[in-house]
Symmetry: C2
Subunit: 181 residues, 2 copies
Amino acid sequence: MKKKSLPLSDVYRLLEPGPVVLLSTHYKGVEDVMTMSWHTMLDFEPPLIGCVVSNRDYSFNLLKGSKQCVINIPTVELSKMIVGCGNTSGKEVDKFKKFKITRSAASKVKAPLIDDCFANLECQVVDMKMANKYNFFVLKVVKAWIDARSAQSKNPATLHHRGKGIFMVAGESIKLPSKMK
Amino acid sequence: MKKKSLPLSDVYRLLEPGPVVLLSTHYKGVEDVMTMSWHTMLDFEPPLIGCVVSNRDYSFNLLKGSKQCVINIPTVELSKMIVGCGNTSGKEVDKFKKFKITRSAASKVKAPLIDDCFANLECQVVDMKMANKYNFFVLKVVKAWIDARSAQSKNPATLHHRGKGIFMVAGESIKLPSKMK
């Protein structure tokens, strides 16, 4: 999938709807990817994101050590990858190999971009004050990429976790007379 | 709409998909309601939620002063209420009156339950350490309510904000072999 640069001011439009994402990390030669659903925007521009990565997750130490990651946004076509990465631990398997996940080098961080995801957000960890108490990390997006076939990514069929194996697939989009940014 | 008690262990299943919500507050006789989309789960049980309420919002001081609120979850049928509450400020209008929002008394907080929302989460503010820097509040859900017609609320047509007046309406639910809670 060919990607193009996405203006940082548009990043919130990808995460605010609440999709399940894949968080990729790289630390001292080790890479991991985990399924993540607990995240929120904290600011528009530069885009700040808050997310929960549990200290029981293998990615926790990679994120804490490298202070970098990529948030990759998948659609329903990647269900197997999403579920597979959520059901396994990087402690035991190389998920990239097991789930045949192809990756590319990012431009500003060492964590990899997952090719098949329609959007990739390169992030720096900018605040870990809530990491011990809440497993909560504050990330700043430093570079964003999106599927170059823009029509394809305008109304992406993202997955939204309802718990216990139930996922809502993003439905139709409607235009409302909202003045919200 | 008749409501029944929802176990606190099920609360994350309502918010994790990322719906637009209505935050209601009450402080010293003043009530307000605002549209909110920047929130995340922080823990399962007791359910902890992190959310952004801007210091430019009228609700900010009500939330900070009372340390209480209700998160009300609307569906697409309430679009007018959602957009109306997002486009106006409690500084200028009584939104309950303007948008004919009927409310009921909550059981554990002073902020009101919005009747027409299919779920209501009574919350206490438990951490404001990130309120100054990120407008970020940590809430603990102390009581949860859901539409008593449970089938109705199993696959709710929530709205998910894509920015600039575009809202995704929750689509179909699918079951995947996920071991995620």
